[in-house]
């Protein structure tokens, strides 16, 4: 089979696209992992597993472990989701921009 010039170019584009995709997926995986670690630490960690040592510390009238279990973890959850939404939008924009750069 003889390769036309257009085929070579298309293959290069596919390679380029695959590389961009792989880079994007790695970024998303890293972001998710980081956020899920925080998710676990504030709820299961601070709220349950480490609650006794944290309860030695006071936050006003709250024992700190109790506060994480009944208030703090929920606030952190909200922050995590909005941070995730913002970073994902940025990553997707960068992905598109790299794609446009490659086509020119």
């Amino acid at each position: 089979m003889r390769l036309e010039k257009g085929d070579v170019q298309r293959m290069a584009e596919v390679d380029n696209k695959n590389a961009r995709r792989a880079h994007f997926s790695a970024q998303v995986r890293g972001l998710m992992l980081k956020l899920l670690v925080i998710w676990f630490v504030v709820s299961f960690g601070f709220g349950i597993l480490l609650v006794e040592p944290l309860n030695e510390i006071r936050l006003g009238g709250y024992k700190l472990g109790f506060w994480f279990a009944q208030q703090g973890s929920i606030f952190v959850f909200i922050a995590l989701i909005f941070y995730f939404a913002a970073v994902m939008s940025r990553l997707e924009r960068e992905y598109r921009e790299r794609g446009e750069g490659a086509e020119q």
Binding site: S25, G47, V51, G60, G61, Q70, I74, F77, I81, F84
Partner: protein
């Protein structure tokens, strides 16, 4: 104006509002009916999701569960579990299913696992968890009516069914979405106003979230320290530190509620209604904001109302309350049977202690905490009327969302996708309306004749969703190698293990005394209680699915293409 008349006015006004919205938002296509034409603003969807999500259990029962049954800190499992699930939903599930772009959860499972069997198994799991959930809502409607509007339970349930029937059958997802937004406003107002007043009275701080960590007004004693002190005095355990079961049980309980939340179909389908993948992510954040307003207020209501009750029971002279000094709210709620006293030692006083031998406050129902809260705090009658409307809004909005999940599974997944693929768009829309009507009537029937298993319903729904649908969705999105056979075997194994553990404790179909493995000590599996078992069922599901996938043929190339598409950045162009 008497309280009953006022309550009729407030509840009547909210119902007129829901019906008005229903007429304005009629569905004209199947896309309207299933996903509100995919055009709902992310903030609006967040608000609708919050109402969809917060049921009669969240509104009426949760604060009481935390304060009484779970003695404070132990109740944290509900607070973290029912909110933390949104992080999983926002990161791992909702954006990908929105990207997929179809109408139902079984739709995705059927296509990803290239199998009608997988789709039908998903429909069965969906119906099992949604029906158990909806029975609780119908009961909530009947109870709220009978308590506040002095109708009997059946009449109340009938009126509730009529309202849901009207806007759900007419408007489908579109009508449900906009009524849920109105219902959110009603329920959150009704929940926070009494909380603000009570926080002000006790601590001088209007924000309950801050009041809970403040000193009691006019003293330098922290509210939570006072509560710990009094409860220990009465023989109870400390409010702020007492575990529910064991640390392991609390971890399992929280995890089960989290993954159950992320696997409940009626919540997931709400994210199909927004215009884009990015909107689905943001919308999950907004949903949690609106949910958190109630969920961070609930622990404050829990502690403050518990303190108020304990204070009422201890008259100023440090002795137990004299029977003739009972406040008016006490007698009102005794009539409903939620509160009972018995002067066991005949000294004319009501002793409230942790010891069942001497405790004379023989019944203190969890629900009383929220329902009687305005009376305990001596708030005006319109606040009480508002709480009635709020409880009804919470129950109706969740019931409608559940009924839509059930009816779309029947008309779309069973009829259109599996058994009658040639059905036209118009016929499918008609079928979905009929399915909705049947679902409403079925739920009403089950509300009137609650089966034995209705007692444990809401917790069971989470266990079922956690052990069947959540793992199938997560593996469907992220594990390319999981095959049709693996997914079906996993779902069936996960849901069976969970059901067996629950039935072993509570009897088959919750009929007492029908445990099939004979008498075993309760919570025998590492001290994990049945309501916390969903996470174990999920682990079984994952394990079985991966094992079976290894020994069966790999998924075909179309599945790889579907996954490539799901993980492609941004929206389809």
């Amino acid at each position: 104006m008497s309280l009953t008349v006022l309550t009729y006015l407030v509840v009547g006004f909210t119902f007129a509002l829901y019906i008005g919205i229903a007429i304005a938002t009629r569905a004209s296509s199947t896309k309207d009916f299933y996903v509100a034409d995919g055009g709902v603003h992310p903030v609006a969807n967040g608000m609708a999701t919050a109402a969809d999500w917060m049921s009669a259990a969240s509104f009426i029962s949760m604060a009481g569960l935390i304060a009484l049954s779970y003695n404070g800190y132990g109740g944290s499992v509900f607070l973290m579990g029912w909110t933390g699930g949104y992080v999983l939903l926002a990161l791992l599930i909702a954006p990908y299913l929105r990207k997929y772009g179809k109408y139902t959860v079984p739709d995705f499972i059927g296509e990803r696992y290239y199998s009608d069997t997988a789709r039908v198994v998903a429909v069965i799991c969906l119906i099992l968890c949604s029906v158990t959930y909806v029975i609780g809502q119908m009961k909530g409607v009947g109870v709220a009516f009978s308590r506040f509007l002095e109708t009997d339970y059946e009449t109340g349930l009938g009126i509730g069914m009529l309202i849901v029937f009207f806007y759900a059958v007419l408007g489908g997802m579109k009508g449900i979405t906009y009524t849920q937004i109105a219902q959110y406003v009603v329920l959150i107002t009704a929940y926070t106003i009494p909380a603000i007043f009570i926080s002000l009275q006790l601590t001088g701080n209007p924000l309950p979230q801050l009041g809970l960590g403040s000193t009691l007004a006019g003293t330098d004693m922290y509210l939570l320290d006072k509560l710990d002190l009094i409860l220990v005095d009465l023989g109870f355990q400390e409010y702020t530190t007492t575990l529910r079961g064991s640390t392991l049980n609390m971890v399992a309980f929280t995890a089960s509620l989290m993954i159950g939340t992320a696997g409940l179909p009626h919540v997931i389908i709400r994210f199909f209604t927004v215009p884009s993948v990015a909107a689905a992510r943001r919308s999950a954040g907004w949903a949690l904001v609106f949910i958190a307003i109630l969920y961070t207020t609930a622990p404050a209501i829990a502690a403050m109302a518990r303190l108020n009750i304990v204070d009422t029971m201890q008259a100023s002279d440090g002795q137990a309350l004299l029977i003739e000094d009972k406040p008016a709210w006490f007698e009102n709620w005794e009539q409903t049977g939620l509160l009972k006293v018995e002067d066991l030692n005949g000294d004319g006083r009501i002793e409230y202690t942790a010891d069942p031998e001497t405790n004379e406050l023989t019944k203190l129902d969890n629900d009383i905490l929220v329902l009687a809260n305005p009376e305990i705090a001596q708030l005006p009658n319109w606040v009480i009327a508002l709480v009635a409307a709020g409880g009804l809004a919470a129950a109706l909005s969740t019931a409608a969302g559940l009924l839509l999940a059930i009816s779309s599974a029947i008309s779309h997944d069973l009829l259109k996708s599996t058994y009658m693929p040639s059905i036209s768009e118009r016929a499918e829309l008609r079928a979905s309306r009929i399915a909705m009507a049947v679902a409403v009537l079925g739920a009403g029937y089950l509300g009137l004749n609650p089966p034995g298993f209705a007692a444990g319903t809401v917790a069971l729904a989470f266990g079922l969703a956690a052990s069947s649908l959540f793992p199938a969705l997560l593996m469907g999105i992220f594990a390319r190698g999981v095959s049709r056979e693996g997914a079906v075997a996993g779902m069936l194994a996960g849901i069976s293990v969970t059901l067996l553990y629950v039935f072993q404790h509570k009897g088959i179909m919750f009929i007492p005394g029908t445990s099939f493995m004979g008498d075993m000590s309760p919570n025998w599996f590492f001290g994990i209680e049945p309501n916390a078992f969903g996470v174990v069922g999920a682990a079984v599901n994952f394990g079985v699915a991966f094992f079976v996938s290894r020994v069966t043929a790999a998924p075909p190339s179309e599945v790889q293409e579907l996954l490539d598409f799901l993980h492609e950045p941004g929206d389809a162009t």
